[in-house]
Structures are given as C-alpha cells and as structure tokens.
Symmetry: C2
Subunit: 297 residues, 2 copies
C-alpha cells in the first residue's frame, strides 16, 4: 500500500468511527428519523471533504482530535444535501451510491426530516462542550460560521437554486462557474478552511486553503463533464453522454473538449501551487489534487 | 396602550427590522430562493419566540443589541420548520397565515431550499463576527449549541417525527407530552435560554428559563386542543372540532375537558412561579404566560 493510500485509509477510518458515534442507534419514539440519518451518513461515501479537513489540520500542526468534529460536520452537511437533492421535488433520484435513496426506503416525510436533522446536527457537533473544550470557543465559532456561510444561500444552497433555474437553458460560462463554485466549491472550501482553523492556522493559511479548495472543486466538476463524453461506462459505473442527452450546459459544451482539459489541468496546478503557502508536509494534499485530476471514474 | 402592549410592540419592531436586514433583496442568480425566504420570514408572524429571547435577556440585565441576533435565529428556525411542514410530502397545507404557502408561490423545490437556507442562516446570524464582537465567543457558542440541540432529532425534528408516526393512531398521554415537548417546547426553551445566555445569565437562570418555557409551551398546546372543542370559529379564524374529525389524540380526548383545563392552569402557574428565580422585573413574561393561558384564538 502506498503512503498516500495508507494515510487515506487512516483518515477515513477515523471519520467512520466518529460519525457512527455521533448518531447511535436509539430505541426512542423518533427512532425512524435516526435510522434514516444513519442510513445515508454511514453508507461508505469516499469522505473526500472530511479527509481535506483532517489533512489541512495536520498541515497546520494540529491534531486529529481537534479536527474530527469539524470534519464530521462537513460530511453531515454534504449528506443532508444529497438526501434533499434526491427527493421527488428536486432530482427525483431513486438510487444513490448503489442503494435505494433515503426517501425510497424511509418515505419522503422522514427523508426530509433526516436531512433537516443532519444539517442541524452538523452545528451541534462543532459547538458541543466536548469539542469546545478541545479547540476553544474562538475556533469553534470561526469554524461553525464558515460552515454556515458556505452551506447557505450565498454558498451551497444558492448554487442549488442556480442549478434549478438553469435547467434546460443555455447559460454562459460565467453562470456555470458561479453555480459550481457555490454548489460544490463552497463546501469543499469550508472543509479545507475548517481544518486550518481547528489547528489555529493563520488568516493567510485559511486563504491559501480556500484557493486550493476552489481550484480543486472546479477541476473536479470539469473532469466530471469530460468523463461524461470520453469515459468508459464500465469504469464510470454510469451511462455516458447523459449531459448531451439532457441538453445540459457543461464545460465541454461551452469550451470544447481540448480547452476544458486545459482548464482542468491549470486548475489542478493552481491547487498544488496554493499548498506552497504551508511549511508542513503537503504531499497528501498534492497527491489528492493530482489524483482527482487524473481520475477515470 | 397598556405597558404590556407597549413592550410587545417595541420587541416586535426590533425583531422585524433586524430580520429584514439579515435577508435583503438581492439581484443575484439565486434571487428566487432569497425571495422565498423573505416571503415566509417577513410575513407578520406574532414573533412570540424572539420576544421571549429579548425579554429574558432584559430580565437578566442584558441589552437588546446582545439578544437580537439570537432572537432572529430562533425565528428563522421556526419559519424553516413551517415551510418544510407545509410541503406536500408533510402536511400538504396550501395556506399559512392567510397567504398561500411558500411552495404554492415558489414551487416545492425552491421552498425546500428556502427552508434549508433559513435553517443554515440561523447559525450564521449567531456566529457572525458582528454578533461575536457584541456578546463574546463563549456566549455565541453556548447559544448556538442550545439552538442546534433543541432544533434537532432530540428536539423539534424528533417531535415532528413522533407526530408523523402517531398519525391516525391512539397514543398514550406520555407520548403526546413527549411529542409536544420536542415539537413545540424545545424551540421555545431555546428562545428563553438564549436570552439568558445573551446577557451572561447564570446556569440557575438558564434552568429557570427552561422551566418557564416548557410549562408555557405545553399549556399553549393544551389550550389549542381545548379551543378546538370550545372555541368560536369566527374568533379562532379556523374551523373547530377538526381534531375529532381527524380522530387525533389530544389532551381533551385523553383527559376530558375539565382535567385538560386544570392541567393548563397549573402549567401556567408553574411558568409564572419559575420567574421567581429572577431578581429583575418579570412582569412582561408573567403577563405573556397569563395571556396565553386565557387566549381565545
């Protein structure tokens, strides 16, 4: 196993354990909504966002213990957004990560509440006395504020609204970029910045983490669009050319394949360059950016 | 105008102004979700929860400025819960406070996002630098934590789930009480406790505020049930005997009218008694409890 894979596994394991501890099975009157939250939160996602939080905390000289509640909070927000996104009134997706979507299993009403519960629990995790005792009130406030801002109407929720309004329409490149920066970049940015904050990193480090995150997030999205055109359906695990069929505006449709590839490469480079602001060992984060840039699924 | 009405108007005006400042109209790509949030947040609700926050802050010797962000945060949570509750997959209510429900005007997808946006903004309001500069990081953390806990699966969201699971079923009194304590009491409790916290109140004061809140919340619910049987539809502004028609378990159906009345009166008394823990002038909060106990709509 490479050093990268070794660290990845270590981060992921820490996140799985902590997430599972936050929402324990409970024989209470409202146990259905707790089961629904666990169903989506503990479903073996890749945990990219919480890994970023842990890696940036380590890079700034902090401990895993300091960053774990922040890392889990980001994953709770990500998970709630997937549950709400899959609902019939949004994308109406009946499958997620190879399993029936939350509302298919638990019903729309409980799925809606499970999303609300996870969104709320994210803040509970950051602000609860144990966390504050470990990282101090100042850092807890700063982290939770960034998370709220980046997840809100001028962040993730705003991006989802732009997505709703762009459906089936021709949109300019600028709108596509704003949408993706809000919809995907904002939460990745929160993940990275909160890692620095957990460790007591400087404002410059938080800014550099944000730069890394936004470049990474956008590169990720562009590569998604490229793979939809050039990918192998077997390797991707989903059908290709779906954007073309649904007449969706993408980086490929707006820029062409070549320019889209160049843009993704330059963004990966930008992400890697942002890591130069840190004195610590940034090899993991560098490799993560490069791997996302080269991925085939 | 009585002194009570005078204070009520002053509190309400402060809340309206601040709420409106939090979500300003904005000509951005996602302006629809911002409009949807404003539509429900600024619709002239009674503002009982934020008034409680302001009154408890004042009672503990704090200023309006310290409590206003907390007060607005509670109202944002209350409003998001109404938007999500009205959705077709929940209660499917097409009217709210005499206006079409959020999803009727903006569509289900935007209404869902408006709820998510308001829930997220509640934490942004408490944790943003302006608020923290005014009340300090310790109080902001404590207040936001209480709000998250009381709004979550062991609070409001949990109560809504119990409600879903009780629909059309005979439930024991204990379940009904737990449901109402979670569904209504928890957020009222957060409102009262956050007021004390804004002012730097003691743990004893926070506990007394919680006692007041839970008694008030339950009394409110019992009186709702009583009015559904004894009320005048003209004064109530809604049809009566709706619980009986839908075979809903209520305090009246489980206890009988007389015992329900006695329980409500003893809870109002309990709320008033909890105010004795405070040295300050608690007349407003006392009158609020008594008025809620005597209300006819």
């Amino acid at each position: 196993m490479s050093q990268y894979e070794d660290r990845q596994r270590k981060f992921q394991q820490a996140v799985e354990n902590k997430l599972s501890a936050y929402i324990q099975e409970d024989k209470v009157l409202q146990s259905d909504v707790i089961d629904a939250m666990r169903y989506s939160l503990l479903d073996g996602g890749k945990r990219i966002r919480p890994m970023l939080t842990l890696a940036f905390c380590e890079l700034c000289g902090g401990t895993e213990e300091q960053a774990l509640p922040f890392a889990c909070a980001v994953e709770m927000i990500h998970t709630y957004s997937l549950i709400h996104d899959d609902l019939p009134c949004m994308d109406n997706d009946t499958m997620r990560r190879g399993k029936p979507s939350n509302h298919v299993v638990f019903g729309e009403d409980t799925a809606l509440l499970a999303g609300d519960g996870l969104l709320t629990m994210a803040f509970e995790a950051i602000l609860q006395p144990d966390t504050v005792a470990c990282c101090g009130a100042e850092r807890a406030v700063r982290a939770a504020y960034i998370l709220a801002r980046e997840a809100g109407v001028y962040g993730m929720v705003g991006g989802q609204q732009i997505d709703l309004m762009s459906e089936g329409r021709q949109i300019p490149l600028e709108t596509l970029r704003t949408m993706d920066e809000y919809k995907t970049g904002a939460l990745i940015s929160a993940a990275c910045c909160m890692g620095c904050i957990a460790a007591g990193g400087s404002d410059e480090q938080v800014s550099a983490a944000r730069e890394y995150a936004l470049a990474l997030g956008l590169a990720f999205q562009i590569i998604d669009d490229i793979l939809d055109v050039t990918g192998d359906p077997e390797v991707l695990g989903k059908p290709v050319l779906s954007d073309q069929k649904s007449k969706k505006c993408t980086y490929v449709s707006l820029l062409g394949l070549d320019s889209a590839r160049k843009l993704a490469a330059s963004l990966t480079e930008k992400a890697v360059k942002a890591l130069e602001s840190f004195d610590g060992d940034s090899r993991f984060l560098k490799e993560l950016a490069v791997k996302l840039g080269e991925r085939e699924n």
